[in-house]
Amino acid sequence: MALFFYAQILLHILGGIAGFLFEQHGEKANRLTHGLAVLASAAGILFSLGILLIGKPWALEWQGSFPVGALRFVANPFSAFFLLIISFLSLAASIFAIGYTREFQGKKNIALLGFFYNFFILAMLFVVTVQNAFYFLFFWELMSLTSYFLVIFEHERPETRSAGTLYLIMTHVGTAFITAAFLLLFIHAGSFSFDAFREAASTLSPVLKNVIFLAALIGFGTKAGVIPLHIWLPRAHPQAPSHVSALMSGVMIKTAVYGLLVFLFNFLGETPGWWGHVMLAVAILSTLLGILYALMENDLKRLLAFSSIENMGIILLGVGMALVFRTLHQPLYAGFALIAALYHVINHAIFKGLLFLGAGSVLSGTHTRNIEGLGGLIRRMPWTASFFLVGAMAIAALPPLNGFISEWLTFIALLLGCESVSPAMRFFSPLLAALLGLAGALAATCFVKAFGISFLGKPRSERAAHAHEAGGFMKVGMGILAASCFGLALTAPWILPMLGEAAKTLSATDISMTGLTQKVFLMSPSGSSQFSPLLIAMILSVFLLGTVILLRLTFGKQHVRIGPSWDCGMPGLEPRMQYTATGYSKPLRRIFSFLYQPTRRVELEDEGHAMLRTAQRFESKITHHVDEWVYQPLSELVVDLSRKAKQIQTGHIQLYLSYIFITLILLLLFFGGRS
């Protein structure tokens, strides 16, 4: 079994390096580097599935000569779950990449892309298995750096470079907090090993515990992109090549969930009640604001990135409820909430991966990401359109797709709060459930817009009119994920026990899984509701097929007649007369105007009279408050301080030397004086 894991690592390393053999032949490098990544991911899927199904953990230890403890890897059901997600999504993304990177050929160095791509995946695999804080940080940093180089792969564009810089800054701020959290644990436990952290958890003082919690929350929250630490995410994710965006949004930000869960459930022992409340507050804020900003976005990939923020919020809602129930000593409910969060982790990885690959396919077919310039793609790109539709339906939580399952579980977890012993939770949890419902409805609106404006109607630009369908590899990559959207929904009653294993390993408490599934039904642990995705799917398809058959029977076989749209008697319908993305989201811009504070500018030019209009310009913008209130003043402050600090940089070598000299003398006087 472990052989598969070694094979995966080896193939990724080989895949990273082998591309350089054919640096001059883009296509050969492409096939080699991404082909090896496909093989590696396949091996990884076998390995992690093996661990999950058999349940026997695997461990590898290497003593090494560094004074930071042994380098230890463990794949238990919990980390195998994350390994599975990473391997599965990278399988689909790598297949997609074989087709997708063809457009870079001759222009960019594919071997370099493959190098960073393979090592990026490798770093993520190590992050979720390594059991030593020092090496964890090392691989975490490796993951951040390789993904930075992937983000700036198309560095000719200035916005890509600035997005990359922002990503680099934010990710290092996050890493600084994570490092602080680990160092505090190290000081307490006296070792970098995770096992030592676990053993020392019960003796942590409450103050230290709270400080570590906040540091971990900020650190991992930055990577996860929770509001208000999200600003890098909607800028950096869209700039990367699409298969990398899929991996970044699909799995990289999930490693933050992994880290957070390990801290909360393993390293910090008993949790105070307010942690869960803070987590829920952060989560609901990210959920609502994430989707509200996504709604206003007209850049397809940015829209998806904002929607990732929303989905991280949903995952953290589950984590928050798990914390709350753990504090209230209701392990079954806590386990259920944790399962809901983990289920959404895998679901979001799948459908967001699918949507990013779909956006990549649109991008390579039309060379634009602006929804307003698309339209009518369903005719020219039927495969991409149907795959994108599956992803959009899944993310909008429509049954019988996988998004619905995990959102249902999260709902139940929230509603279980009504049955808890805490009066605050009894009041707030239905409120949170209602807000989650609102977010779900907004997500549906958002993806109706994304799909409807891009794929339906008439082409709004030359580029959209001359779009071409994705190639075979890209179709396969998207197809795998689209099929899993159905698969993960229909097999939910069998997946749940597996997630239960993962949750059990993490929280080291026994969660009785018998009450949560009954045959094909998913059960609420309190027995208040039950739901079967299989049954729903059957009922829906019976209805659909029944309607078709009934129509056939009553009307017989009809000929399809294609005629012009009704034009109100004014001939000459133009694509410009269609509903626009901005127009579609207008009602919501009005409703939530207190939040968006939209500004718009209309410029009219005419030759002396309104009838002789020569040009019109329209500009509409919304306000991102976090950017304006927090980050702009912050960046101004930093620039200001740097300018002040620059004054001591005169360029005189003697002055620099005297800084050293004076510091040395002062330190000697301070520490070395006569005792």
């Binding site: 940089q649 005169t650 360029g651 005189h652 070598i653 003697q654 002055l655 030397l657 005297s658 050293i660 000299f661 040395l664 003398i665 000697l668 006087l669 070395g672 004086g673 006569r674 005792s675």
Partner: protein
């Protein structure tokens, strides 16, 4: 050598070393300060030899000999050649005048005696009187680097610091393994060569070796 004789020889040599340090700092001609450096290195070689003999660590004689050859003869010669090749002015140009740098130097000697006064550091060492001297040599080197204008003086300052560190090392450890010492000497020689080349390059690029001109390199 009897212990009394050794002790007075050590005292004498230490005093001479400090005087040589002052000499380097106060020379108004570059040639003179190089000669002072050679004298300083010569005294250092003598001190090393005395320590080697009194403490019976004979392998210290090798570094003593190397100091004599390299620092007293080879490196000063390299310096004289650089000066000849560059054809620079012989006067030392300084930001502060010589009496004032002398004053600062005296202050630094006080500081170095003050900061090494802790008994914990000095008790176990046999020739503990060299430690403040070593530190003040380092200080003098730094003072030289920070106050002089020409790049060649900065190189000389660095070599002075190196002398101070060497003195510190042999006093505290009675000689490191020979291999390490050989390595250090080789380093110093190579450093001098490289910095010599740099000085030429700086002259080529800026048409002077005035370190002030390098402010244009600032971002």
């Amino acid at each position: 050598m009897s212990p009394e004789l050794a002790a007075s020889a050590i005292h004498f040599l230490g005093m001479m070393l400090l005087i040589a340090s002052f000499w380097i700092l106060t020379s108004s001609q570059i040639g003179m300060s190089i000669r002072a450096y050679a004298a300083h290195s010569f005294l250092l070689a003598l001190i090393t030899a005395v320590i080697a003999v009194t403490n019976h660590v004979e392998h210290l004689l090798v570094p003593a000999l190397l100091t004599l050859v390299l620092k007293t003869i080879v490196i000063p010669n390299v310096f004289f050649r650089i000066i000849r090749r560059l054809g620079i002015r012989k006067e030392v140009e300084s930001y502060i005048n010589i009496p004032f740098s002398l004053l600062l130097a005296v202050l630094l000697v006080f500081v170095s005696f003050y900061v090494t006064g802790d008994d914990k550091i000095l008790k176990p060492v046999a020739f503990s009187e060299f430690i403040p001297l070593a530190i003040s040599t380092v200080f003098f080197g730094m003072l030289m680097m920070t106050t002089r204008k020409k790049a060649i003086n900065q190189v000389l300052g660095l070599l002075l610091i190196e002398n101070g560190l060497f003195l510190m090392a042999i006093t505290m450890t009675f000689g490191m393994p020979l291999l390490v010492e050989m390595g250090i000497f080789f380093d110093v020689l190579v450093a001098v060569m490289i910095m010599g080349i740099f000085v030429f390059k700086i002259r080529d690029a800026f048409e002077s070796i005035d370190a002030d001109d390098m402010t244009v390199l600032k971002g």
